[in-house]
Symmetry: D2
């Protein structure tokens, strides 16, 4: 008889927005929530008996109901409360996994003044969090996703291994472009997640900008180190940094010299670099 | 015998990036170009004789070759030069249609200082242009695409027509959210396209923020009027403004009062509003 | 004073599914509907007076309400009825534009027998229609969208125009790949739209497969001619056929001969070919 | 000093197509390959010394070079050979992870006859494989991804857990729709991967169609059990089955009875169900 060796269920892409009306301005928050449970749910999988299954429709409703009384001061804080609620209300669940991504809505600014209630969707960049909670443990991560960054110099790639299919020229001055995804693991709860987010984000970008890069791997490690130095509350940081190529276009065929000026960016194929830096 | 009543061909999604190295900093520009020709190309369609067809591969190469000596000071300027080149080199073409969208790469800023060569992809917003040129005429448009904007108040929708399938409640205070696409037609060439872009963009956003909206249509017309007032060099502006709904979530079922605070945003279906405002 | 020189509004991406329970099996239909109105709607745009505006929420509800009693025998038939309804219920509208795309759900088949109620989403191909109706005129189109087709031989591209940026080699045997979008205009109403769809689709594909192609343009015209021959009820057909390139990969650098066998497919940039063939 | 606690790099989205010219017809194959290495690459991450790094450009070239002499008889066979090659040519790598997805190109068929060299892209469904290989171990999976399946009856969801936010009605006859992703792990190498793929795919679909479903979880387990019964060469199967909701549309507001006929499909939010069934 086959067995159910792993299982997980829940609701994905639950989209929530909230207006908090302050005296001077409105705060508009938009989250997308994934909430998943795993545990002793064999009865529904094997026997079709749903007595332990909190419906995914309920999991969704809970997001909106809890958002009403919650400050949504940070996605981490909301994920912590949601995950605690789910564990209480679905006794068969041994683990709740709540992920939130937050859109970057910024108040419009005119002549230096922030508008009290008009926003623009400033960036495709997302702020992310994931809380994985069981009865007696909890893992909290914060993160950034989908942030395009690029530098036009101070990036090299030389001295690499060569085999019969290696034709890549050594390059001391190239464009380095990536779409950054970083997730860091907090070593404690109760920290100021918004402050940590801000200083880690700045540390990552400043290191990316200033690093004398010998490879994308080299820069990834330096960025991770900078993040760990910037924020004592995190124990490790995982980064995924695709190498989004900008290839020099061959103008020599037309008698034109391309002095490292004219490129064609390509989304596929792309290099793929990932790594975890741990304190 | 069937006839060829319309025809067009060219290359789409030609992606170009360029580094211009100034003394104090680098300028990084990324364009995506579509270049299409139409004209007396019946020989290839009907007889398979390609003698008049400039290959789409050549159309692509031209983008890179011309970019080398061009300043790329504005997408409009580059589209004008490209379209002129194509008309000259493909004598059978009676019209060249060159569209460019420009990604919003912004120099990173640390402690108030712009970094000399590091950029982040600030927004999904695109700046666009289209030049349609024939031997003796030319139409130039500038534009904005894919810009998410939103306001949390000063938006109403009441007093509308009702029929047997109308259940929408009248609403005096609702979220208004859209993803703005605007294209404006210049009434002359040789204007300062970058300045026009900036003042039109600001006029559109400021009007969106400040308008007492009775409908998305109402705001669209006001925004168009504001753009025409801001910039004398344009004769008309076309806008597409989908109504990206943020629906109040029904918390009453749980004994919770939703005082216009908790919403679910939905991408589909969406309202669709478009209009052209002409001087 | 600026004027409103064009306007249009409605609901887009209205998704509808219906089960029709027959004695032997169920018919499952999934449509996505866009329904747009234009006309004398200046009052809402200019003055914010919505008295003539049938809400887009109502436009959406109407899709579901009419679907209940409608057979949905073809997307054309449903678009015709919807557009008539909208014109009646929004007196300020001078034109209704209803577009429908239909997903290709196919009954699963086991050992040659169609299952009575299980389906798989067979293809990304969509069947499309658009009805544009005013008080005294009507234009009906049928169509196919997003259909990837490809042939590995009988496709050439030689004898083309050359300029200083032309390096493309002449090629007598290449892959021809495209993602077909075709829309044909009916010259009358009341035809058997399902039969027309089937014979036009077959004519297009068979011509694509059998044509000795000298260019994608050449094949486009032949396909259009074949469609007009196959179905007397259409007066013209418009086709968009991007040239989805499969480039030979340069293996010569590794001492390997690539006898037109190994390619890399690329989505961007792509050739773009369109044309209309008229009876 | 921070440490590099995990690392991986390679090339993603390498797209390959190949024509194999048989006497009676052409075989056209299209793969997308991701090839990743991990191992003792600290020198590049920490010190910027790339001497152990086989460039991702080389990793890409290898795909095309090996495809030339390889039969591509199955994606599994090609992934096995690629992974072996990479381990040999990058001595610092302790593990190679090669994933391939194969597009479903089908020969066109006219009057029952398969065309010798014309294809259509039959489905968005992908056949997948992943080979993870180290010096002395190897894990081989096969799979299906992105296959939309749906049934219009024989699906219920009743008797579930209820809490204060549960309003979902019990439902004995509902639409069950999902987009199936399944990956199965082979317990040996050298099996007939194509035959296994075919019989597992059929077993999954037939079970989905015939199962009296009490929940999507219930059907997932039954499908996994059916796959294990159909093919002795696999030891486990993992499935992800989002619950793509088709909600009944409330027509009662208009005095129309919706007898479980009229629905609106929604992509987000969606239920999310996953599980692994092991022999």
């Amino acid at each position: 008889m086959p067995t159910l060796s792993s299982n997980r269920y829940g609701k994905a892409r639950v989209r929530l927005s909230k207006i908090t009306r302050l005296e001077t301005h409105h705060v508009f928050t938009e989250y997308t929530v994934d909430a998943l449970l795993d545990g002793a749910f064999e009865a529904t999988y094997i026997d079709g008996d749903n007595k332990d299954v909190l419906p995914t429709d309920t999991i969704k409703n809970t997001v909106y109901a809890l958002a009403k009384s919650h400050s949504l001061s940070s996605p981490e804080a909301f994920a912590l409360d949601l995950s605690e609620h789910y564990l209480k209300h679905a006794p068969a669940a041994t683990q709740a996994d709540v992920s939130i991504s937050m859109r970057d809505w910024q108040r419009m600014s005119f002549a230096g003044d922030a508008h009290p209630f008009a926003y623009n969707g400033a960036s495709q960049e997302l702020r992310t969090t994931q809380v994985i909670r069981s009865k007696d443990s909890m893992a909290i991560t914060g993160g950034i996703a989908e942030l395009p960054i690029l530098k036009t110099t101070d990036s090299a790639f030389v001295g690499f291994l060569k085999d019969e299919y290696t034709v890549l020229p050594e390059e001391r001055d190239r464009i380095m472009a990536t779409k950054l995804t970083a997730t860091w693991r907090y070593n404690t709860s109760g920290v100021d997640y918004n402050h940590c987010y801000t200083i880690i984000r700045t540390a990552l970008l400043q290191c990316f900008a200033d690093h004398q890069s010998e490879s994308l791997q080299h820069t990834l490690f330096a960025m991770g180190t900078a993040a760990l130095e910037a924020c004592r509350a995190i124990e490790s940081i995982h980064m995924v940094m695709p190498n989004v190529h900008n290839f020099p276009f061959d103008l020599g065929r037309f008698g034109i010299e391309n002095k490292n000026e004219i490129f064609f960016p390509a989304d596929e194929p792309h290099g793929y670099i990932e790594g975890t830096v741990t304190r």
